[in-house]
Symmetry: C2
Subunit: 350 residues, 2 copies
Amino acid sequence: MAVRRQPTLRDVAAAAGVAVSTASRALTRPGRVNADTADRVVAVAKELGYIPSASARALLSGRTATVALVLPDVTNPFFFGLVRGTGARLRESGYVQVLADTEESAEVELDTLRKLRGQVDGAVLAASRLSDEQIAGAAADLALVVVNRTIPGTPGVLLDTAGGMVQALEHLAGLGHTRVVYASGPVTSWSDRRRREALEPAAARLGVELVVLGPYAPVRSSGAQAADAALEAGATAVITFNDLLAFGVLERLDARDVPVPGGMSVIGCDDIFGADLVRPALTTVESPVERAGRMAADLLLARLEGDRPGDEDDLGGDPDDEPAVVARGAADPVLLPTHLVVRSSTGPVD
Amino acid sequence: MAVRRQPTLRDVAAAAGVAVSTASRALTRPGRVNADTADRVVAVAKELGYIPSASARALLSGRTATVALVLPDVTNPFFFGLVRGTGARLRESGYVQVLADTEESAEVELDTLRKLRGQVDGAVLAASRLSDEQIAGAAADLALVVVNRTIPGTPGVLLDTAGGMVQALEHLAGLGHTRVVYASGPVTSWSDRRRREALEPAAARLGVELVVLGPYAPVRSSGAQAADAALEAGATAVITFNDLLAFGVLERLDARDVPVPGGMSVIGCDDIFGADLVRPALTTVESPVERAGRMAADLLLARLEGDRPGDEDDLGGDPDDEPAVVARGAADPVLLPTHLVVRSSTGPVD
DNA sequence: GCTAGGCTGGCAATCGTTTGCCAGCAAGAT
DNA sequence: ATCTTGCTGGCAAACGATTGCCAGCCTAGC
């Protein structure tokens, strides 16, 4: 029941009959102590089940080997890929991942970031509710990587959903649609702005009339309004800001007995869990979210490892170390391509 | 770009013109120092943006104010409720939540637990892949709470899905079904065993023939086999181990042109995200997973707070403190009831 | 006027680990 | 035989916060 006291380095040293410093070196500085001594210490440490105290290490080195993933809502399926992607990459490098849910609140987010400083070496910030200035400010205190935001001086990973949306429009144009609605997302969304900017010229080029509606909250319940508005606009197809919204649209169309894709084609964005479960299965723009997570963690780790004082004379760099990422980290954000997944919610105009 | 050095208590003390010890007391021991002095220190601390070092605190106190949630697979929708529930409760008490993914491997899990010791004050273990003995062993080194497991001496939270399954069977019996399949889950699953034990007598009581098939891997792709086996068994309804399996069953039935619920009624378990998205919407046993998460965190926190040396003379206990939870913590696991959510995948026999 | 006691604030030890510096020792060079 | 050099291991000072102990001071009571 009661948790037993952990053996410390002192215990190990005593049991091995050496000084604490020797024990420390035996475990962390191969070659620095006599091989026999080292073996003895290692054996004793194993025997005692010794595990170095993370707090003590952190106190001395200032590094915690911990990275936070800061999200507005852990349960939004869109973020699962990020959780998994960053988590996998961090684990590979021996880092611990902590999850911070900011409950969609800028205030909570700011507070979280404040508290995190010192507890973690860095953070991946996704779908931040903060202003560019606030993020830049926080970045002065904590190594930060942003996802789907561009903050000058802060490394970032961007998902090129705009490119996927253009593919979606091309797909619809190919099916004969000439009047297409884009049900837009939050005005604060960087990617929403970027998509509109990409869709306009694409529509012109394809000879499609693009009607931008919204903004809609990117949740299922907003789908009803979006569906109604799209019908009213006389469109034969609707592209939504994200899949949740698309789910809501499908529900509403079903409730109004509008056949999909016969009466209306629907395209979502993100390809979250469930997109292939709805009927008809949703045609959607798939984003490599998990890869984005890995990449974000990559950028952060590159920066953290680069910060290590010991590495400073290592300017030559290891050719196997993907120097491109390290070099790009501080500069332009990484842009990851997306692609359209065609399922059953799109079809030719009746 | 470069992260600036954090102000320490020494900086605050120097700026306020007091000793470090005084500064410390001003911030943590209200009343211990002169009010004027305290105000000055607090003001300076705020001005400097001082944040106490978590590592230093942890080193001294042995407590990290951090709790881990250990899961076999972070991305399994079933666990989202746990993530959210434990997270919310932990945040309320000022704890940080760290997420550990064990990749469905007992080895990784054991290793994770080993590394976690010392980094966290405790852990919530869900769907552990470890044996009872291994868990009991780990519990000696780290305060543990298990979800859906019964380990003597280790507090736990159980979801009474068995009860919900009985409701499901009653629902089916009421619709006139007389031959029902239970598509079982992993043999190692505690809850699966418990469900079978509860379904047998319920079936006898209701005059329903119960056919247990499986075990099936609790994933969507296994649904095809399960659906085929259920059809072959001549059943008119199937209850599945979980919703993912049910999704697979629905898909297969659709592919084989078996109408649902006309040709086959389908009931899932867990009510994960997507259960109301599939067509027909899935009738399923809803588990209060988020509540289970809160409860698990509750038990863990109660135990952690109880361990605090300072609280030992507080045996009377605060009447507002929900002493029931604290008392129950070490004893029997908490059992949370579940209930059936009826949607469109169940109906009368044709 | 003197002492007892309360209030306030400082000193220093402590937590567990790492690491710069130094001392002892042995072996090889001169 | 002496000096140099390299290897090994110990001492002690950090890291930042907390806290037991103590000293100084002020006030109140006699």
